[in-house]
């Protein structure tokens, strides 16, 4: 083999330089990720309507939110949809994960692919294909159709999270329970389910956040009465900037931060 080409830097010095470069780059990218949203949050306290100039600290745009009945209505809708989606996704995802983990049957691989599909498929395809289904079946668009759409892309995330946990679980746990006389349901209820709790919670949280933030599928499956918060925000943002939206966005950020902190706390608990 040929000798390595002579280099001005020793490998060690080159590594150090590369290391410093990587650290600097990571810092810059994080700045790029955070600066826009931080600026947005800061400006939500600017008393000026939309100017760049800072005209004093004020909570008036937050106070204004209290007078925006349509936005409050939309927020309530979002909460209803996200809660229903989370509950259904947890039930469907957890039971599905357990059954797919536990049993082998014909068509199982196909089912696994089908479960993965809504997670990775462009949302617009889910939206339009569900719209055609609902139109053909004569189902009026509203909360039910929105929730169906949301559960379809949310429950696979619960299923995958629970499944990962199941795979790390000692199969002897269930055997021991059964040997001690537990019924299959009893073993599931008292042995498996408690062990799955962190994964179920994490999956449920994911389903809630996905549903809470979803725009595209909702866009095709909702009526005006069941319009969610992202849909309203999208409509307002299309018209242009709006200081009330700044305040609302800042609140959204706060909810996300709380969710991520909670998830981190869950992960710590799972260890």
């Amino acid at each position: 083999m040929a000798a390595p080409p002579p280099s001005l830097l020793s490998p060690a010095a080159g590594s150090r330089l590369l290391q410093a470069g990587l650290r600097g780059w990571t810092g810059l990218v994080l700045l790029f990720l955070y600066l826009p949203v931080i600026v947005l949050a800061v400006y939500s306290f600017n008393s000026a309507r939309l100017g760049v100039a800072w005209e004093g600290f004020s909570g008036r745009w937050y106070a204004e939110l209290l007078h925006q009945a349509p936005l409050q209505r939309a927020a309530l809708n979002s909460l209803v949809v996200a809660t229903a989606t989370t509950l259904l996704s947890v039930v469907l995802g957890t039971s599905g994960a357990w059954l797919l983990h536990r049993y082998r049957f014909p068509g199982r691989d196909l089912i696994e692919s089908l479960v993965n599909l809504p997670m990775v498929m462009p949302e617009i395809l889910l939206g339009i294909s569900l719209l055609i289904l609902f139109a053909l079946a004569g189902v009026g668009l509203g909360f039910i159709t929105v929730i169906i759409g949301h559960v379809t892309f949310s429950f696979p995330f619960v299923l995958v999270a629970v499944r990962a946990r199941l795979q790390g679980l000692d199969p002897a746990l269930e055997e021991a329970a059964r040997d001690l006389g537990a019924t299959p349901w009893g073993a599931f209820r008292h042995v498996i389910l408690p062990a799955l709790r962190p994964a179920i919670l994490a999956g449920g949280l994911m389903a809630f956040l996905l549903s809470w933030d979803e725009l595209i599928v909702t866009y095709f499956t909702t009526s005006a009465a069941s319009a969610t918060l992202p849909l309203k925000v999208f409509g307002l943002a299309k018209v242009g900037l709006n200081p009330v939206l700044n305040a609302l966005s800042a609140l959204f950020l706060l909810v996300t931060l709380a969710g991520v902190a909670f998830a981190a706390y869950l992960r710590r608990g799972a260890r």
Partner: protein
């Protein structure tokens, strides 16, 4: 009484009860994933009447319309934007993912959390933030006016550059996370061995690190490329109506133009593209010995 034997290996066949429990999942997948996909295909072969109602039938006319230069151009533009977005995400995100995975555990946990927060932040909020920065009276133009008072404000919002910036900003964490996962699995001993054999960092990267992290790259690239092709919300907000992409056209066919069959044909084309990308991804997945 002895309990009936438990399935000791995960190879048991389901009994009646298990099938009963499986039924909701199977029904859900059939009713809300399989049937809608078939209906989409069926609808794309139909026609619309003058009231915008779908006339079911069997005609390839909608697919012939896809070849109209107007739509071909939009398709190509969407692919171009998505490719550019993906390339930029890869260039920007790969070094970050690499640094994250090789950092000391405490630092890594913090950095990972810092990447997760934007990942979970509403993409609408993040897109909206860029509207505030890029608009004519926005922050960037204020900065320009401060540095170069003689310049006229730049028209930044509602341009292709704004759209790509917004897409990169939205999807960057989707690339960083899978690449991070695959760098983390990388065996450090392999890199050390390469170093010991005299290879510098510039040699180790293309010959050792890059091939071994290819699965993560492939996953990240799909996670960015596929949704970026179809995205219409970011492009609506940052591109205005000036740069329609395929997602905007589909949305328009379904909600304004009310030509569902044509919209469905566009959707089927998108679905085909998506399936091809999944097959490519599967082909790139490592087999056998290289698995981490």
């Amino acid at each position: 009484m002895t309990p009936e034997p438990v399935a000791r290996d995960p190879g048991a066949r389901p009994g009646t009860l298990a099938w009963l429990l499986l039924a909701p999942l199977l029904a859900w997948l059939a009713l809300f994933v399989v049937v809608p996909a078939l209906l989409l295909l069926g609808c794309s072969l139909g026609e619309r009447d003058e009231f915008g109602q779908v006339l079911w039938g069997f005609s390839l006319e909608n697919y012939a319309r896809l070849l109209d230069p107007v739509y071909l151009r939009i398709f190509l533009r969407s692919l171009g934007f998505a490719a550019l977005t993906t390339g930029l995400c890869l260039l920007i995100g790969y070094p970050v993912a690499y640094h994250l995975a090789r950092a000391a555990p405490r630092v890594r946990e913090l950095l990972l959390l810092l990447v997760m927060v934007p990942f979970w932040t509403s993409f609408l909020v993040r897109t909206y933030a860029w509207m505030a920065i890029l608009r004519e009276e926005g922050l960037l133009n204020a900065l320009v006016a401060w540095l170069q008072p003689a310049w006229a404000p730049l028209g930044l919002l509602y341009t292709p550059a704004a759209v790509v910036t917004g897409l990169v900003y939205s999807y960057l964490p989707f690339l960083i996370l899978p690449v991070y996962a695959s760098v983390e699995k990388l065996d450090g001993a392999l890199i050390e061995a390469a170093h010991d054999l005299g290879a510098g960092p510039w040699r180790v990267f293309p010959t050792v690190i890059l091939p071994l992290t290819l699965p993560g790259i492939a996953a990240g690239v799909t996670l960015v490329f596929v949704p970026a092709v179809a995205m219409f919300a970011v492009t609506d907000l940052l591109g205005g109506a000036r740069v329609p992409l395929i997602g905007n056209v589909i949305q328009n066919q379904f909600l304004q133009a009310r030509d569902w069959p044509f919209g469905a044909a566009l959707g089927v084309a998108l679905l085909g593209l998506f399936l091809v990308s999944q097959l490519v991804l599967r082909a790139l997945r490592p087999r056998g010995a290289l698995r981490g």
